[in-house]
């Protein structure tokens, strides 16, 4: 309703301007070419700032009247409660749309101003900016939901945090494949989450905050489900994080398999990391600490639990390939698809370049680099583009302003670019001046390695060059241990017989107190995670599947059924406990049934939520006795009207 918008104008204007400018600055992280000519891969600052601004916007919209103390003045308006509840949400949408318009334009102008280049034909970064900014929509919706929920302020803050984590995981998971997010995918996921949360916020906004009344049934269903899902999902993710940390630490505590004094055995690090000490099959220390060099490690790769808590900004397809600086205060930028630009910083110009006077695109997969000149000017280097797959080598001719092909002498084929350090260089370049002059500014020299020979650059041409050969130390033993078993805590490692040593076999399990402690810690987190996710993980997660927040390696694929059942038991005890508590404080049947089911499915976190939400104060029913008649009464003047 337009009339209600009148009272919102001050904060709408404030947030549009502040948010637009702030986010505009955040979006101007990169220089003009990286941002708008090539296209950025990720806009980290913009993402986090957009999310923060979104949450603040949502909370401000809902709480504006509470901050000003005009809540009751507003409630006097003869407006339907639906319109009243929707009004702040509509205002939020207006502000968000304004940001979507202002920020890209502001960023373009800002970047162009700082880079000194105003070229309207370049606008490559707009989809990335808009897509990254889409995170402000669900963030705003989260702010609205948390501000509007009829619960104590600290529970609302907690809900805001858990919802942020939950939705970030969800959106990242949906939008990204192989670590690359699609613009439309990310935007669509954001909008979908925002729409659901806005609807919930609109529902909450119609409820009255009243700590002395229990939640009406619809509020309990919506609010309860939101709380349980948000907290449950977050606990699953954070629990998984803690679980993997604990299990990985336990694994790290395990002794290493080493070769020592003609036998294969186990050894652990001491507190002083330079010494190791041998230990027996029970992981107990035997013998004295010995220097690290006495031991030769035998590698094995045990199953680790990966860190999967990825709730970050969207990473788009990488357009930026390479960038080098040229001699005359210019830069060369290369796009992934082979297009190259030269940016003249002094004259604020940008123009396309490429192979030959026609400025053809470079082949894909090439990289830019330098090759040092061994000619008369020792400080000179040439910019080259080299592609190991195509075998093509190009040199950037700065006077001509484009790339030219470089051919190796004697029909040799290009292999790679090599580097040699000052101390190691023992060149044999014949008529070239002593190498001492070459190392005035740089302590390494880069040269071209061909199939047959090596070459250095001289006056734009390649000449033969003899790089030193470095002696490599003998490689440590190449034997590896073979891991049997996919469990991160209990597995067997077998080292085959080699070099005259007998074969070795050890079963790793938590044996020492420290290992048991960490293993126990991990199992504790496993037990408090929602039984629903644990059960599905146990039944459905194959050991080979890629890890995600739901996967618990301790029980995946049916391992450690006892741990799974322990988790069920804990949830069951929690459900029974909450049933008794709710009976005792006089909660309604619906409340009791809801929370018992939630506790059975989602575990201890639901029990905690039930305790926080269904307080005794809400359900208290003090003695309601009718008041005595007033001491002095006159006859009522109201007539009975027959309806």
């Amino acid at each position: 309703m337009n009339a209600l918008r009148m009272k919102d104008r001050p904060w709408m204007l404030g947030t549009i301007i502040a948010g637009g400018v702030g986010l505009g600055f955040a979006a101007s992280q990169h220089d003009f070419v990286t941002m708008f000519v090539l296209g950025p891969r990720r806009l980290e600052l913009l993402y986090y700032l957009a999310a923060s601004c979104g949450i603040v916007l949502g909370a401000l919209a809902i709480l504006w009247d509470d901050l000003l103390g005009t809540r009751e003045f507003l409630a006097q308006r003869p407006v339907t409660s639906d319109a009243m509840a929707r009004s702040p949400l509509q205002a939020c949408v207006v502000v968000l749309l304004s940001w979507m318009v202002i920020v890209p334009i502001f960023a373009w102008c800002m970047t162009a101003f700082w880079s000194g280049m105003y070229d309207l034909s370049y606008g490559a970064g707009f989809p990335e900016i808009l897509a990254t900014m889409m995170v402000a929509w669900p963030a705003c919706a989260i702010g609205c939901v948390a501000a509007a929920m009829p619960a104590p302020w600290w529970l609302r803050l907690l809900l805001a945090s858990t919802l942020t984590l939950s939705t970030a995981l969800l959106i990242s998971g949906v939008a990204a494949t192989d670590g690359v997010s699609s613009h439309l995918g990310f935007a669509f996921a954001c909008i979908a989450v925002a729409a659901v949360l806005f609807a919930i916020a609109g529902f909450f906004n119609k409820q009255r905050q009243d700590p002395d009344r229990p939640w009406p049934v619809p509020t309990r269903i919506v609010g309860g489900v939101v709380l349980v899902l948000a907290f449950g999902h977050s606990l699953t993710a954070l629990g998984r994080e803690a679980l993997s940390n604990a299990v990985n630490t336990a694994q790290w505590e395990y002794p290493q398999i080493v070769r020592l004094d003609d036998k294969v055995g186990l050894a652990v690090r001491t507190k002083n990391w330079r010494n190791w000490v041998e230990c027996d099959a029970d992981h107990a220390v035997i013998g004295e600490p010995r220097p690290r060099a006495d031991f030769v490690e035998i590698d094995y790769r045990a199953q680790r639990m990966r860190d999967v808590l990825e709730a970050e900004e969207p990473r788009f397809r990488d357009h930026f390939r390479d960038r080098v600086s040229l001699a005359n205060r210019s830069d060369l930028y290369m796009h992934q698809d082979g297009r190259v630009w030269v940016r003249d910083r002094r004259r604020h110009q940008l123009h396309v370049t490429g192979v030959g006077p026609q400025h053809e695109k470079l082949p894909k997969g090439m990289e830019l680099g330098y090759v040092d000149d061994v000619g008369k000017d020792p400080n000179q280097r040439s910019v080259i583009a080299e592609g190991a797959d195509s075998g093509r080598l190009l040199r950037f001719d700065e006077t001509a302003g484009h790339f030219v092909d470089l051919t190796l002498p004697d029909g040799d084929r290009f292999e790679s670019v090599g580097y040699v350090r000052e101390r190691e260089a023992k060149p044999n370049v014949g008529e070239v001046s002593p190498l001492a002059f070459l190392f005035v500014h740089d302590d390494s020299i880069s040269f071209i390695r061909g199939k047959n020979d090596s070459y250095a650059m001289k006056d734009g041409e390649l000449v033969a060059f003899e790089p030193p050969v470095r002696e490599k130390a003998t490689v440590a033993t190449s034997v590896r241990g073979e891991v049997i078993g996919k469990d991160p805590l209990s597995f067997v490692v077998e080292v085959p017989a080699h070099d005259g040593l007998a074969s070795f076999r050890h079963e790793f399990q938590p044996r020492t107190a420290t290992e048991r402690f960490y293993a126990g810690l991990g199992m504790t987190f496993s037990v408090i995670r929602p039984p629903l996710t644990q059960a599905s993980c146990s039944l459905l997660c194959d050991d080979e599947t890629a890890p995600g927040v739901f996967v618990d390696r301790l029980i995946a694929g049916g391992k450690r059924v006892w741990l799974l059942l322990l988790g069920f038991a804990v949830a069951g005890v929690g459900a029974w406990g909450i049933q008794r508590r709710l009976l005792r404080i006089g909660a309604s049947d619906h409340a009791r049934r809801f929370w018992v089911v939630a506790s059975a499915l989602v575990g201890p976190i639901a029990v905690l939520l039930a305790v926080l939400v269904e307080t005794p104060r809400r359900h208290a029913r003090p003695n309601v006795v009718p008041a005595p008649a007033p001491r002095i009464v006159s006859v009522s003047e109201c007539e009975e009207v027959v309806a």
Binding site: M1, N2, A3, L4, M6, K7, R9, P10, L68, G69, T70, E72, F73, A75, Q76, R77, P78, V79, T80, R208, D210, P211, D212, R213, R617, A620, P622, V624, V625, P626, A627, P628, P630, R631, I632, V633, S634, S636, E637, C638, E639, E640, V641, V642, A643
Partner: protein, 311 residues
Amino acid sequence: MSSAVVTFDGVHRWFGKSHVLRGLSFEVAPGQVYALLGRNGAGKTTALRILLGFLAPLAGSAHVLGRDCTDLLPEQRGRIGYVGEEHRLYPTMTVQQAVNFEAATRSTFRKDFALEAAKRCGLRSGQRVPFLSRGQRAQLSLILAVASGPDLLICDDPALGLDVVMRREFLDVMIDLLADTGCTVLFSSHFLSDVERVADRVGILHEGALLVDARLDDLKQRVRKCIWVPNGDAKPPVGDNVLRVGARRQGFDLTLLDATEAMFADLAKSGELSPPEAPSLEDLFLDITGPEQPGMLREPIEQFLSKTGGA
């Protein structure tokens, strides 16, 4: 169904452990001016907030304009004008914008009337609300509430903190409203002299329930105060007629309800009796809600007398 504009029916409300309203019941007839009085913390503001739908009663029900207060529709809200204790308006608005806001959200609002009235009170259109004095804000609040021609005007201690002149002007606006429209008024106030002028009916709220729910004229006619110095061992009267017995240096202050001539004659015989007079509303309020009220059946009169040492 009653024709009452406002009905409270056994309303209970508690906040945590404190039981603020204990079975509040009263009615306000159409066209009446009802004054809800009570000490600070007696529950007046809570009762009015329940009436306006900001709080829900935890037992009992309240109805306004025929509708349950927890379920008010825009129609009812449009017919109710509210002036609060703090006169909260949007601090970002000017006087003109506040009037515009009210006009935009209420269809019956008379904008010219409101601006006219504001000008008469000395308010300029461009003044921002936070820069108005308390009295000016109160006047603006009242104008905004009244200019839409409400059927029911609810005021929660509107004259608090205003000077005498402002209070009289407030009263004038209310009287104009009553004279022009048949508006019903429910207000609470600490200024009992104003209440005496303007109220038809008075309700005295004490610790969550009504002690008095009567017409002002009735109160004046039925309640009598006198000073009585007893002879010898004569005890002060007890019973339903006695509202309060207060000890004096010599004798007692008696507040009596529906006292007969015979009673006065008896008292005059057994001691020295001052001429009975009707107490002002302020005196009545003090007697009823102040401490030491053996007559209000707090404690037996014997216990009270033994504490004060008798005559």
